[in-house]
C-alpha cells in the first residue's frame, strides 16, 4: 500500500515490455557492459593527465561520499545500539567511552517485544506477497492468454485504477475495512486488512500481463493439442516460464509491505498485530534512547542482510521498475 500511496503509478514500463529480459540474459549483458561498454569518457580521454587526475579525485570523493551517506548512518546506528544513552547524547561520535552495553539489544528484543513485531512484519509481507502473486498471475493469465471477449473491458478497468492515486482510497478503503461487504464483520486488526488491499495492485497485473503477451503462443497451442486444459497450461507451462517477472513482482511486493506505514497504522490499531513500522514510533516516547536505538538497529538488520544476499535482484528490480518511494 505504501508504494501505492507514495508513488501510485507504474514506473519505467518501457523496460518491462520484453520477456527476454530474463535473469540469465541480463547477467550476461551486465558482464559484457563491464568489458566492452564505454561511457562519456573514451580510452583517449582517460589517458589525458588532467582527466586522469580529476577522475581519480572524483573516485575518491565519490567513494568517501557514498560510504559516509550510505554506510555512515547504519554504522552509527550499530554503534549507538550498544552504547549507553548518556554517552550517545554527550559524545555521539565517541567510541564507547564508558564501555559497550550489549544488554540494550536483549532489552529491546524482550521488553519492547521486537520479536513479536518482527514476526508480524514477516507475516504481513508474506501474505501480501502471496495475494499479489496470486491475483497478478491468475489475472494476467486470464487477460493475456485465455482472453475471453470481455477481457479488454476488464483490462481497461484495471488500467484505469493506475491513474487514481491511492490517496483517494484512504478514507473509503478504511471504511470498507470497517464494514466489508458480505462478510459483515470488521476486518480491523486482522492481517486481511493489509493483505487484500495490497493485492488490488494494477501495476502487478500490467507487468505480468505484458510479460505473458510476449510468451510464445506456439507452446500453449502445442500443449492444448496434447490435451492440456487451461489449469494445466497455467501451472505447468506459464508459471515456470514466468520466473523472471515473478521475481520482480515478489521484490516489489515484499519491499512495499516492509515499508508500509500509513495503512497498517490505520487498520491495525491493536499492538498485538502491528508491524515494526507502526510499532516503533508508538513506543519511541516510552523507551530509553539506547534501547530504542537498539530496536531500530535490529529492525534494520533483516532488510540489509536480504539486500546484501539478493543484491543483484534488488538492483535489477530497482533499475527496471524503480518502484521506490519518492
Amino acid at each position: 500500500m505504501e508504494h501505492q500511496l507514495t508513488a501510485g503509478v507504474p514506473t519505467d514500463l518501457s523496460r518491462i515490455e520484453r520477456p527476454q529480459m530474463s535473469v540469465k540474459k541480463s547477467k550476461r549483458r551486465e558482464s559484457l557492459d563491464d568489458l566492452a561498454d564505454r561511457g562519456v569518457l573514451s580510452g583517449f580521454d582517460r589517458k589525458r593527465p588532467g582527466v586522469k587526475i580529476t577522475m581519480s579525485a572524483v573516485h575518491v570523493v565519490l567513494l568517501v561520499g557514498l560510504v559516509v551517506a550510505g554506510l555512515g548512518p547504519i554504522l552509527w546506528l550499530a554503534k549507538a545500539a550498544v552504547t549507553p544513552t548518556q554517552d550517545t547524547l554527550r559524545q555521539p561520535f565517541a567510541l564507547w567511552p564508558h564501555g559497550i552495553d550489549w544488554a540494550n539489544l536483549s532489552t529491546a528484543w524482550n521488553d519492547i517485544h521486537i520479536d513479536q513485531y518482527f514476526l508480524n512484519t514477516i507475516i504481513i509481507a508474506l501474505g501480501s506477497w502471496f495475494f499479489q502473486v496470486l491475483v497478478a498471475t491468475t489475472a494476467g493469465y486470464a487477460l493475456s492468454i485465455l482472453r475471453p471477449k470481455y477481457a479488454p473491458i476488464l483490462n481497461g478497468l484495471v488500467l484505469a485504477t493506475l491513474f487514481i492515486p491511492a490517496v483517494v482510497l484512504l478514507v473509503p478503503l478504511y471504511l470498507t475495512i470497517l464494514h466489508p461487504p458480505i462478510i459483515g464483520t470488521s476486518m480491523l486488526n486482522t492481517f486481511w486488512a493489509v493483505w487484500l488491499p495490497a493485492a488490488a495492485n494494477a501495476f502487478n497485473i500490467l507487468l505480468v500481463k505484458r510479460f505473458f503477451d510476449n510468451l510464445p503462443r506456439e507452446v500453449f497451442e502445442a500443449a492444448k493439442t496434447d490435451g492440456a486444459g487451461p489449469f494445466r497450461v497455467f501451472w505447468s507451462i506459464v508459471l515456470p516460464m514466468s520466473r523472471p517477472i515473478l521475481g520482480v513482482v515478489s521484490v516489489f511486493a515484499i519491499i512495499a509491505a516492509w515499508k508500509d506505514f500509513l495503512w497498517p497504522l490505520l487498520v491495525l490499531p491493536d499492538p498485538a498485530v502491528q508491524p515494526l513500522s507502526v510499532r516503533l514510533p508508538a513506543v519511541q516516547s516510552q523507551t530509553e534512547l539506547d534501547v530504542f536505538l537498539a530496536a531500530l538497529a535490529i529492525s534494520t538488520i533483516i532488510p540489509v542482510v536480504l539486500f546484501l544476499v539478493f543484491q543483484r535482484l534488488f538492483l535489477r528490480s530497482a533499475g527496471l521498475g524503480g518502484a521506490v518511494k519518492g
Binding site: I177, F231, R232, W235, V267, P269, V273, V283, S285, Q286
Partner: protein, 455 residues
C-alpha cells in the same frame, strides 16, 4: 487434470494457513469456553513488566470473584489521532477511558453507553462530587460513565536539577517570576532545559490554557447558549510573552519544542527538564512507563496571580460503547465497579488494590482530586495510608496548597480541536523569534470562534 487439483489444494492450504495466522492474531471478542470475554483498557503501550504483573494480579482477583468473566487487558492510551479511528472502527476495548473534555460531545453523539440505571442500582450515584458527575450527564440527567479520577494541574520539578543548580528542592518557586528565575539558573548551571512546555497533539493548547488560567484567563464564555471564544485575552498574552522571554531572552527552555504528553514525560524522567506543568496524577505514569527515579521528583502547585486566577483541572471517565451487547454491558459494569470504583468506596477493596499495586512497585497515593465527596475521599486516604509508597513529602507543596486554589474546568465546546489550534500558537512562539503574539492570538480566536459556530 492433476494440475487443477494441485492448484486447488495449494490455494486451499495457503488460504487455510493465512486464515489461521489472521485468526490467531485477531483480537478476542466473543465467548470462549463458556466464559464471557471482556476487553478492558489497561495502560499505555510500553509500560514496564511490573505494571503488567500488577494488572495480572488484579485480573486474577476479579476472575476469582466472577468466574464467568474472562478479563483481557488491552493496551490503551487516549490520544486524539488514534481515538477517532478506533471509535469509528469499533476497535476500542469494551471498557475504556475518555477525558472530561470529550465526554459531552461523545454522549451527545450517542457514542457512549447509558449507565444511569446501573449506577443507581450500585447505590452511589449520589456520592459523586456533583460538579464532576455533571461532566457525564446529558440534558435529561442520564449518566453515561463513571468518573474515576480527577486531577488538577501542578508544577512538576526535578529535585536533582534543583540541587545541581544550587537551588533548594524543598523551596520550589511560588510565582511565575520565580519560575523564570529558577529556570534560568538551572539552564545556566546544568545545561538542561530549566522549563519546558508541551506543544504537540493538542497538549500545547491544554498547557497554554493551564498556564493562562493561573493568570486569570477565561477562554470561552457562554451567554444564554451563545458560546464565544475569548482566547485573545490579556492573561494568555502574558503567558505567551513569558514563554517567549524564557525561550529567546533567557534561552532556558532547551532545544526540543515539539513535545507531546509522552515526549515531555520522557525528557523529564530522563532528567533533561527542570520544571513543567501537567496533571497532578502524572507521577504514576512517570515511574511506571517512563522509568523515572522517585527521588528526583518534586511537585508543587502552579503559581497563581491575580484575583481571577484558578487551576485548570480535568479527569477521566470509565465508559463503554453503546454497541456492545447486554451481557458485555453487565460484565463491563461489574468490572468498572470493581476495578475503578470500589477502591474509592470500600475499605477492603481499597486495601486490596493498594496492596496489589504496592507489591508490584506501582505508585500508591499519587495526588489526585476527589471524584467522590470529600468525606469519602478522606476516609479512603486513611485506608490506604499504610501502603502509600509515593514520596508524599516531595509533593508537599502541592498537597498543602491545592485546596486553597480555585478549581477551573476546561472549556466545554470544541475543546480538543481548539487546543489543536492553540498548539500552533505555542509552537510559533517557541520556534520563531519574530512571532507576533498579538496577531497569533487574534487569528486563533477567530479560528476557534469559527469552530464553535460551525458545530
Amino acid at each position: 487434470m492433476k494440475s487443477a487439483v494441485k492448484i486447488a489444494i495449494a490455494s486451499a492450504a495457503a488460504l487455510a494457513l493465512a486464515g489461521s495466522l489472521a485468526g490467531c492474531a485477531q483480537g478476542a471478542g466473543g465467548d470462549s469456553g463458556g466464559k464471557l470475554q471482556l476487553r478492558v483498557a489497561t495502560f499505555p503501550p510500553g509500560a514496564d513488566q511490573a505494571a503488567y504483573d500488577a494488572f495480572a494480579t488484579q485480573e486474577k482477583q476479579f476472575e476469582k470473584l466472577h468466574p464467568d468473566i474472562d478479563i483481557i487487558g488491552v493496551e490503551y492510551e487516549w490520544k486524539a489521532p488514534t481515538f477517532a479511528a478506533q471509535l469509528a472502527g469499533g476497535s476500542l476495548p469494551d471498557v475504556f477511558l475518555v477525558p472530561f473534555t470529550d465526554t459531552k460531545t461523545l454522549l451527545e453523539n450517542g457514542q457512549l453507553m447509558d449507565v444511569t440505571d446501573e449506577m443507581k442500582s450500585l447505590g452511589y450515584s449520589d456520592k459523586f462530587n456533583p460538579v464532576i458527575l455533571n461532566e457525564v450527564k446529558d440534558d435529561k440527567g442520564h449518566i453515561f460513565g463513571f468518573p474515576r479520577q480527577a486531577y488538577a494541574n501542578g508544577l512538576h520539578y526535578n529535585r536533582d536539577l534543583f540541587t545541581a543548580a544550587g537551588l533548594d528542592p524543598d523551596k520550589p518557586p511560588t510565582t511565575w517570576d520565580e519560575v523564570r528565575k529558577d529556570a534560568k539558573i538551572i539552564s545556566d548551571q546544568t545545561g538542561k532545559a530549566g522549563y519546558a512546555t508541551m506543544t504537540k497533539g493538542n497538549t500545547g493548547g491544554w498547557q497554554l490554557t493551564t498556564q493562562s488560567v493561573s493568570r486569570g484567563a477565561v477562554d470561552q464564555t457562554d451567554k444564554d447558549g451563545k458560546v464565544k471564544s475569548t482566547i485573545d485575552n490579556a492573561a494568555t498574552k502574558e503567558t505567551l510573552q513569558w514563554l517567549s522571554d524564557l525561550r529567546w531572552k533567557d534561552n532556558s527552555m532547551g532545544n526540543n519544542f515539539l513535545l507531546d504528553w509522552s515526549g515531555i514525560n520522557k525528557e523529564f524522567a530522563a532528567g533533561n527538564i527542570g520544571m513543567y506543568t501537567s496533571g497532578s496524577d502524572v507521577y504514576t505514569a512517570l515511574v511506571r512507563d517512563f522509568g523515572m527515579k522517585p527521588a528526583q521528583y518534586g511537585l508543587t502547585v502552579i503559581p497563581t496571580q491575580g484575583d481571577d486566577a484558578g487551576v485548570l483541572g480535568g479527569g477521566d471517565v470509565a465508559v463503554m460503547s453503546p454497541k456492545i451487547d447486554a451481557a458485555h454491558k453487565k460484565a463491563g459494569i461489574t468490572w468498572i465497579d470493581w476495578y475503578y470504583m470500589q477502591k474509592l468506596l470500600d475499605k477492603d477493596a481499597a486495601v486490596a488494590d493498594a496492596k496489589a499495586l504496592a507489591a508490584s512497585d506501582q505508585a500508591v497515593g499519587t495526588p489526585v482530586l476527589p471524584v467522590l465527596d470529600k468525606a469519602t475521599y478522606e476516609q479512603d486516604q486513611e485506608w490506604i495510608k499504610p501502603y502509600v509508597n509515593v514520596p508524599l513529602d516531595q509533593m508537599k507543596g502541592f498537597s498543602d496548597g491545592i485546596f486553597d486554589q480555585k478549581p477551573v474546568g476546561e472549556s466545554k465546546v470544541q475543546t480538543q480541536p481548539i487546543y489543536a489550534l492553540m498548539d500552533n500558537v505555542v509552537q510559533a512562539v517557541l520556534t520563531d523569534q519574530n512571532a507576533d503574539i498579538d496577531a497569533l492570538l487574534t487569528k486563533v480566536d477567530s479560528d476557534a470562534q469559527a469552530l464553535i459556530d460551525g458545530k
